[in-house]
Every structure is written in structure tokens, then in C-alpha cells.
Amino acid sequence: MIFIDFLLAFVIGGLICVIGQLLMDVGKLTPAHTLSTLVVAGSILAGLGWYQPLIDLAGAGATIPITSFGNALTTGAIAEAEKHGWVGVLTGMFEVTSSGISAAIVFGFIAALIFKPKGKVN
């Protein structure tokens, strides 16, 4: 059972990356365009209420891809809107956080202090 659990994480996570690869190769999008598209897709899925079931199903297979960032923000905003109505849509923006972003900022800053860019090819 635990094996199937991991397999689902692998397959769902892999498939989300495949969508990204197709956007890059077939859609000729730059990485920045691709990631932005996926984040917006995550938001929309969250709005439809479909992303949480995906997380329940695939675990990290759905939380690790960048789509979950759109989901986290939207879920937070919707929860606030549910509680406080129209004001909530606005205040929801300040309530929601994503650990991925804060972690990336902190670690990025630390990395800048200790590493030097490498221009080596192999």
C-alpha cells in the first residue's frame, strides 16, 4: 500500500511536469511563461475545488509542483472570502503565505553569501 502511495506521487508529479514540458516544447513558451501558466492553472483548479482531492491522492506529487503555489494562495483567499465576504477577498491576500517563497528568499540570500556563480559546463 505504501508503495502505491509513492507510485501515485511519482506518476502525478511526473505528469504535471510533462504538461510543463509540453508547454515549453510544443507551446514554445519560456520557462517563466510556463511556470506562470501552471500557477494560474493551480489557482483555477483550487477555485473549482479540485486541487485538494489531487493533494489527498498524490501527496507530494501535487504539493511539490509549482501548481500547488497557486492552490495555496487561492485556497487562502477563498477561505477569507467565505468568512468575511467582499473584504475577505482583499484581506485574504495578506493572510495567505507560502513557505516555498519565504524559504526560497531566505536560502537564496544565504546562498548569495556563500556561493560564487560557476560558469563551468561539465
Binding site: P117, K118, K120
Partner: protein
């Protein structure tokens, strides 16, 4: 537009230096010096870039027995960094009359054409011409930070860390001489992919080479070698296909070579090959000059190509305008 140099200015001495990765280059043994540190022991990439240019100039002066900077009349050079600060800073140290030249990766040849003109005019006894590029400082400006994990397609090219400079002076029958040059026009066949420079630049090379041959009333076979700058493996194939379509035979196509395509040999991790203003310059002003001197080649056409894009023009959805300049060098 073809210019014929009646006084046949000569290439008196050359200096080519390269970065640590360029040890992998097939032209490595022809370079004058290779530095272990990508930043030339400076604090920033751009300072290292400037240091590399200075070193190439120092090598030339040593080779030509010039002890005083002031004996050099002109310094004509360019690079790819915004406002060409590395070249400007190197020129500050050199302290001679200087004009920054920009034709992107074709600067190696365009600067040599201007230096030859000044020599022909009698205004210059010694003029240093050439160009350079440093991988890290170019990549971060045109593409992504060097440690960013973006996937490059097979058509992508690797910006070299190298500088190539030539000292151009009065005609000397024992030295390679520049007999003609063609200043190319800007050609744009609508390529928009910044990872396919070879495809963007090939039409410019085709245009410049064919008009040079036409105006000079020459055939491809009049040359021992026609070498383009940094079309890369795929760009060179496209150029050959263009000439094949206009009726060139296989033995004529074999005369064509490309510095960028050969620079890193068959190493697949560099995709289509090398690029950058330092690519053509470091190969022309080391390997080619030495081959001419040894007499292996008697007449060569060097056609450096340049893609005149900026990160802004690409983001604004503009196609990539390209240019190519050519010089014809002979050895008596």
C-alpha cells in the same frame, strides 16, 4: 560594400587569451595564454573581462617589441556587455586613441576593417583591433543567471571566454596582409528564437560572402578557406545548404568552415558549438594567423557574423537582425 586596400596592411602580431573552460577547445594550443580563473582574479566578471582584454593587448605589444603604449595609434575594440564597459575600462588602462566598435560577434572583423582603413590612410602606424567575450557576464545579460537550470535546445551555442586581438600596420611581404574587406548590411529573415543564432545569422553570412565574391569577381575555389565566425554546427550546415542551392558543388562547400562549430570539437554539452565576440576573434587571431604564416593557406576569407539583438528586443517580440563583415587576407 567592398573596400580594396591598395597598400595591403599587414597583421604584425596577434594576441589570443582564453578562460579555463577553453582548455577543451581544439584551438587551445594556438592561444597565447589561458587563465585558470574565469574572473581573472578580479572581484567581478566584468572586471575580469576587462583584464582579459588588457592581457591580450600586452601580449601583442610584447610580441611586436612595443614598450610604450603611446606607440600605438589606435585601439579599436568591442564586446557584448551593455555599453561595452569591459572594453572601455581596458581602453582606460591602455590610454591610447580609442573608438568602441559594436557589431556584436562580428566586431572581430569590423574593427580590423576600420584599422586597415586608418592604416591605408596613413593615419596609423600601429592599430590594435579585435573583440572579446566572457561567458558569465554575457549569459547573465542575454539569458539567465549561469546557475539557472534552463533547458537549452540542440541549436543553442555556448558563449566563449576569450579575447583575440591583432596589431595592424604597414604592409610587410613576410606577414599576412589584408587586401580587401566587405562591410555587410543588416539582414533579418525573421528568426525570433534567441537559442537559434546560427539560423538567424546564416543569411547575413551568405549575403556578405556572396556579395564579396561577386564584387571581387572571384569564385569560392579562389580561396583556400572561407571561415565564418560563430554560426555553430547547425548554422554552418544551413549556410552550406544556401550555397548548395545557388549551385555550389561539394568541393566548393568543403572550403567553408566555422570557428564556432569547431571551437569545442565534438563535445555535445556545448550543443551547436561556440559563440560570442571572442570566438571568431580568438580563432582568427591565433590559429588562422599562424596557418597563414606557415604558408598552409595563401588566401582566406574571414566572415564574422553578429546577431544584433538585445534582451529587450527579444522580450518585445522583435526578430533578430544580423550582420556579417568579411576580410580577405593573403600571404605571399
Amino acid at each position: 560594400m567592398v573596400i580594396i586596400f591598395k597598400t595591403k596592411p599587414s597583421i604584425i602580431a596577434c594576441g589570443a587569451v582564453a578562460g579555463p573552460l577553453e582548455k577543451k577547445s581544439v584551438f587551445y594550443s594556438y592561444f597565447d595564454s589561458v587563465v585558470e580563473d574565469e574572473r581573472w582574479n578580479q572581484k567581478t566578471n566584468e572586471q575580469g573581462h576587462a583584464m582579459m582584454i588588457q592581457e591580450a593587448c600586452n601580449i601583442i605589444m610584447k610580441k611586436a617589441n612595443i614598450t610604450n603604449n603611446l606607440d600605438i595609434d589606435f585601439f579599436l575594440s568591442g564586446d557584448l556587455v551593455n555599453q561595452m564597459t569591459p572594453t572601455n575600462f581596458a581602453a582606460r588602462e591602455l590610454a591610447v586613441s580609442f573608438i568602441g566598435m559594436f557589431s556584436a560577434c562580428a566586431t572581430s572583423v569590423s574593427s580590423a576593417i576600420v584599422a586597415s582603413l586608418l592604416t591605408e590612410l596613413g593615419a596609423s602606424k600601429y592599430a590594435i583591433a579585435g573583440s572579446s567575450s566572457q561567458h558569465n557576464s554575457i549569459e547573465r545579460q542575454f539569458r539567465y543567471p549561469v546557475d539557472y537550470g534552463g533547458q537549452k535546445p540542440e541549436t543553442a551555442q555556448w558563449t566563449v571566454t576569450a579575447a583575440g586581438y591583432a596589431l595592424i600596420g604597414k604592409h610587410d611581404p613576410k606577414l599576412p596582409s589584408i587586401v580587401a574587406g566587405t562591410i555587410g548590411k543588416v539582414v533579418d529573415y525573421g528568426e525570433v528564437n534567441p537559442f537559434h543564432m546560427g539560423g538567424a545569422m546564416a543569411p547575413a553570412a551568405f549575403d556578405t560572402i556572396s556579395s564579396h565574391l561577386k564584387k571581387r569577381n572571384q569564385k569560392i575555389t579562389d580561396y583556400d578557406l572561407i571561415m565564418t565566425g560563430d554560426l555553430g554546427k547547425i548554422g554552418l550546415k544551413i549556410l552550406k545548404a544556401m550555397f548548395a542551392q545557388t549551385g555550389a558543388k561539394q568541393e566548393e562547400l568543403d572550403i567553408f568552415r566555422d570557428a564556432g562549430a569547431e571551437f569545442y570539437g565534438e563535445d555535445k554539452s556545448f550543443q551547436s558549438g561556440a559563440s560570442g565576440a571572442g570566438c571568431s576573434a580568438s580563432v582568427y587571431y591565433s590559429y588562422i594567423e599562424q596557418q597563414l604564416k606557415t604558408g598552409r593557406y595563401k588566401r582566406v576569407l574571414l566572415c564574422a557574423t553578429g546577431a544584433l539583438l538585445s534582451p529587450l528586443s527579444f522580450q518585445q517580440g522583435q526578430s533578430i537582425p544580423c550582420t556579417a563583415h568579411a576580410i580577405e587576407i593573403t600571404m605571399e
